[in-house]
């Protein structure tokens, strides 16, 4: 075991291997407030990567309803049960406010040199990917009405592999068949070396490594690496009709850059939060928490910064720089590594430093005449 610093829990933690951080770390921001669980991302991923025999119940990307949905069943609550409660300690105030995790991560819970704490789902756990879908927390009784906070609630959680800073799947593999790419931090299973021991499936807190019953080996989200290598966003990101996703890179070789949309949203403004940071894997999908859901529930998923993130999100309309970064969601199929707010527009540059997108703060409004003189056709107002 070595000690590695995990910025998400504000302290050093145990991990079996030491390695320099990747040149840059692939990362995503998902805005849960905008997700409608249409599963377009799920289908885009499924048709592109997991339509083979043996992959029938495998979804590298899935969207589940919280609190009752989960795929595989109870992936999250089972591990929380095993871990016990988590303890955060607040240090500093205002901009210097930092939380430190005082409870053990999954690498520390069972003691040094032990495999990460985990659980292995069974076939039943994969058999109902949409169990709990659209279920709300309680009955809507007569007289219920909205007073700023919904008395009953649910929200959609879109999930992919987190391409973690400290992957538990990699730590658990006794054959070292899982590796994290030095160029972009994408975590992959060596499809030739894997012998199907399923230790990675047991160890991954997010259950995003799967056993293929035909290939008899583990498979996982490949971060659409063939697209990333060409500077294109992942298919789940490009296909998102709600434009809830932003795909980019976190800076790893220095301070976060204010002109990098990922650095700016995640590290500088802390609008988006990791999921289950207390497990200690340093996940790289960051969620903007749903503003209508009680903090008690959200904090067990997204950690202690939920209230601050909600406040930021509610004040977005007056926060031009942050709003500018938010407007880049779904704006391009190119990965944006730099952005600027110029006048009334947010501008984005791709990995080749080419300007690829320019989004106005206010969409222009066009009034069209009743008669289209060019074609001689009358326009009907069918609304």
């Amino acid at each position: 075991m070595v000690k590695r610093f995990n910025w998400q829990i504000g302290r050093e933690q145990d991990y079996p291997y030491d390695a320099p951080p990747p040149k840059r770390q692939v990362a995503y921001v998902f805005d849960t407030n905008k997700c409608i669980e249409c599963q377009t991302c799920t289908v885009a991923c499924k048709t592109s990567w997991t339509s083979g025999k043996g992959q029938e119940t495998i979804f590298w990307n899935n969207v589940e309803t919280k609190p009752y949905g989960s795929y595989p069943q109870a992936w999250d609550s089972k591990l929380m049960d095993k871990c016990g409660g988590c303890e955060w300690e607040k240090n500093g105030e205002g901009d210097n406010q930092l939380y430190q995790l005082n409870s053990p991560t999954i690498f520390e819970k069972d003691g040094p040199d032990k495999p990460p704490l985990g659980h292995l789902p069974t076939e039943r756990d994969y058999s109902s990917p949409n169990l709990g879908e659209d279920d709300i927390t309680g009955m809507v009784d007569q007289g219920h009405h909205f007073e700023g906070l919904h008395p009953v609630w649910m929200f959609y959680l879109a999930r992919i592999c987190n391409h973690c800073d400290h992957p538990a799947c990699l730590a658990a593999c006794p054959r070292k068949a899982i590796y994290k790419r030095p160029e972009d931090g994408i975590v992959l299973v060596d499809q030739k070396r894997c012998r199907g021991y399923q230790e990675c499936i047991k160890a991954c807190p997010y259950k995003k490594v799967f056993y293929n019953i035909i290939n008899r080996a583990s498979e996982k989200c490949i971060g659409c690496y063939p697209r990333v290598e060409q500077g294109n966003v992942a298919l789940c990101v490009e296909s998102c009709i709600g434009k809830i996703r932003l795909h980019g890179f976190l800076t790893t070789d220095g301070e976060p850059r204010a002109d990098n949309p990922l650095d700016y949203i995640v590290k500088i403004r802390k609008l988006a939060l990791p999921s289950y940071p207390q497990f200690g894997t340093g996940p790289n999908v960051f969620y903007i928490p749903p503003v209508h859901v009680p903090n008690e529930f959200l904090e067990q998923i997204f950690g202690p910064n939920v209230e601050d993130a909600k406040k930021l999100y509610k004040a977005l309309k007056d926060d031009r720089q942050l709003l500018g970064a938010m407007m880049l969601f779904g704006a391009s199929d190119r990965i944006l590594i730099r952005f600027e707010v110029q006048g009334d527009e947010a501008v984005g540059w791709d990995v080749d430093d080419k300007e690829v997108v320019r989004v106005p703060f206010t969409e222009p409004t066009y009034y069209r005449k009743h008669l289209d003189e060019k074609t001689g056709a009358y326009r009907q107002n069918t609304a």
């Binding site: 025999k53 029938e56 040199d113 499809q191 019953i213 290939n215 080996a217």
Partner: protein, 335 residues
């Protein structure tokens, strides 16, 4: 003056701390040291002591009291060998059986936490053409489904390829060779490749891209077009786990330490296993071919060979390092 006293006290205090810490480090080192035991059998062929067989695996059953030294496994020379096609060949009944206790693998994580197999019965014969080993062990129900959280029964024999190779799957520049049999592969051979419909008989899928014909499109016959392999990444990468056209239920592996086992393509090893009345019977066969480096080792020094065994209980979630093992056992090849 008082300053001098203070610094002397500090020096004494730090010095004594250092001595105490060093003593503790040495004590802990000695107490937890696990010597790699390499046993060279007595050249006379008489039974060889196996010091530390259970002491090398703390927590194993019987740890603390040394088990009786295992006898040297004799590879009996016969003119006519039992048929490999039938692991239950009555000819085995007249061949010496060595009852070999197994223990939990506790050296490398992930380890085995409960002993569900107690011993393996081993028999070995050879003639001018072949070597044959038969292993049998108690297994109430066979396990051979390919699914998440399900694991296959398996067994393996390990031989050193260099003198001094540790029994723990060899070590750096100390390779070992293994013959590994797996119940799931035996089912593939006996009943055809274990497909989705073997695991889920009532399942249906409309079609798989570029596979021939209509559902259920068996992997063994409908996936000849290379385009149909584009979603089968293990198969496309040549992973030996993902082979739907397996010729043998076994494979040969080489390793230089835990986690390093790599399959040897075109191995001459053949095998067959049968489960009957609560026992697995598995036969391994290897041609007596001196080009084979392992056989050459046998021939160079037939009196002083070694083997080690491992067995996996699939129902108890055994796989990989979660296995039952033995230390090196002396093996003598009869003339």
């Amino acid at each position: 003056m008082s300053e001098q006293n203070n610094s002397r006290m500090i020096v004494l205090f730090v010095g004594s701390l250092f001595v105490v810490a060093m003593t503790m480090i040495i004590v802990i080192f000695v107490a937890t040291r696990r010597p790699v035991v390499v046993v060279v059998p007595d050249p006379s062929g008489a039974s060889a002591a196996l010091p530390g067989q259970s002491a090398t695996a703390p927590g194993a059953v019987g740890a603390g009291e040394l088990p009786p030294p295992p006898p040297t496994v004799a590879v009996v020379r016969l003119d006519a060998l039992p048929a490999i096609e039938n692991p239950l060949d009555p000819a085995w009944e007249s061949i010496a059986t060595f009852e070999i206790p197994v223990e939990m693998q506790k050296t490398s994580e992930p380890t085995l936490d409960s002993l569900t197999v107690t011993h393996i019965n081993l028999q070995a014969v050879h003639n001018s053409e072949r070597f044959v080993w038969r292993l049998s062990w108690e297994q109430a129900e066979p396990s051979y489904r390919s699914n998440v959280a399900e694991f296959s029964d398996a067994v393996a024999i390990q031989f050193p390829l260099k003198d001094g190779a540790p029994f723990t799957m060899g070590g750096p520049d100390m390779p070992v060779a293994m013959m590994y049999w797996k119940a799931l592969w035996q089912k593939d051979i006996d009943e055809g490749f274990q497909d989705v419909t073997s695991v889920y008989p009532n399942s249906w899928y409309d079609f798989y891209w570029f596979a021939k014909g209509t559902g259920p499109q068996p992997v063994a016959t409908a996936f000849e077009d290379p385009a149909s392999h584009q979603f089968m990444s293990g198969m496309a990468a040549g992973n030996s786990m993902s082979n739907p056209h397996r010729a043998q239920p076994a494979q040969e592996l080489q390793a230089e330490g835990f986690g390093s086992s790599t399959d040897v393509p075109d191995s001459p090893v053949t095998a067959r296993g049968i489960w009957q009345d609560g026992r697995w019977y598995v036969v391994f066969e290897r041609p007596n071919d001196t080009v084979d480096p392992l056989i050459k080792r046998f021939m160079d020094n037939p009196e002083q060979q070694m083997l080690a065994l491992a067995v996996w209980d699939g129902a108890a979630q055994n796989r990989g390092g979660r296995k039952h093992i033995t230390n090196w056992i002396p093996m003598r090849i009869e003339k």
